[in-house]
């Protein structure tokens, strides 16, 4: 493993925050898409039953 030098905590902080933020965005868009799709499918099912 690479020696991150005397400022390793800054490097780790920058990469950790980037990782958490980008993974957070991926989870959010996935959740948002599946939630709205589920809502639409449920509604279509209700309309079809009527």
């Amino acid at each position: 493993m690479l020696d991150l030098g005397p400022f390793s905590e800054f490097i780790i902080a920058a990469y950790s925050i980037s990782f958490v933020t980008l993974v957070g965005l991926i989870i959010w868009v996935h959740h948002s898409e599946s939630h709205h799709k589920k809502q639409l499918d449920l509604l279509k099912e209700t309309i079809d039953k009527q």
Partner: protein
């Protein structure tokens, strides 16, 4: 009677095909079909890019003479800065599309890009601030570059807030689009800020001037490409979510109207 003729020149045919492609993709149903095919490719290529970029960053990048090992923060900060500006340009272009061609998918694109742009601009500010402490001795300076990027972040927040404050969706889209177009003026300000303020702590655009060594340029471009692919993946996903949401609302209205008729 009207007749349509196929253009004879190469550029004419190319333009016709380009227009046809956009007419096809601009249909929300077609967009859902095409994006379902493109999304796995974007996700896969972005993941490969990040894996390669991170390997080169942590195992192959040499120390920088001035910055030491903190130079590798550049590989997450600079792509975030580029994507932040690109996402605003996308919001503005989509807003232009909405105001000029009144296409609902342009509004969907603008709405989907704004929270992504805000988050990535925030990421750019935070990573830049963390990089600043060991390099400049301070987390923040109110210089033109840092302040203009902060204003960009606030502009994104303003666009999101303004849209959510107006109940009528069409009206909200148009008013937000006008603000987004006015805000475009910020992009050249961000670009030129380091040239205008010579006393600023922020570095000049060294990549364009060819001042960055090839050992740093390779991981930087790999990470930037991965960020770009990831951004388009997120944007497409967010657009799909918004299309489903709008379809649900229109179905609910139809159902309510039919119930009222009965």
């Amino acid at each position: 009677m009207t007749t349509t003729t196929e253009p004879t020149t190469f550029w004419g045919r190319l333009w016709t095909r380009f227009n046809n492609f956009f007419s096809t993709i601009a249909n929300p149903g077609n967009f859902l079909n095409y994006s379902a095919k493109i999304l796995p490719w974007l996700a896969g290529l972005s993941a490969i890019g990040f894996a390669t970029g991170l390997y080169i960053t942590f195992f192959k990048t040499p120390l920088d003479e001035e910055m030491g090992q903190t130079v590798i923060i550049m590989f997450v900060h600079v792509p975030a800065a580029w994507i932040a500006q690109m996402s605003y340009a996308l919001v503005a272009a989509s807003s232009f599309g909405l105001l000029v061609w009144r296409h609902p998918l342009a509004d969907v694109s603008a709405k989907a890009a704004a929270p992504l742009g805000a988050t990535i601009t925030f990421l750019c500010l935070v990573t830049g601030s963390i990089w600043g402490r060991p390099d400049w001795g301070t987390y923040w300076q109110w210089d033109l570059r840092m302040t203009s990027v902060l204003v960009l972040f606030l502009l994104f927040i303003g666009l999101i807030t303004l849209r959510s404050a107006i109940e009528e969706e069409t009206q909200a889209g148009k008013i937000t689009a006008i603000l987004a177009l006015v805000g475009v003026i910020l992009l050249p300000v961000i670009k030129l800020s380091v040239e205008w303020q010579q006393s600023a702590l922020h570095q000049k655009a060294g990549i364009i001037r060819g001042e960055v060594a090839i050992e740093f340029l390779i991981p930087l471009f790999i990470m930037a490409l991965s960020y770009t692919l990831l951004f388009f993946y997120l944007h497409m996903k967010a657009m799909r979510a918004e299309i489903y949401r709008r379809r649900t609302i229109s179905q609910q209205r139809r159902l309510a109207y039919e119930d009222h008729q009965d």
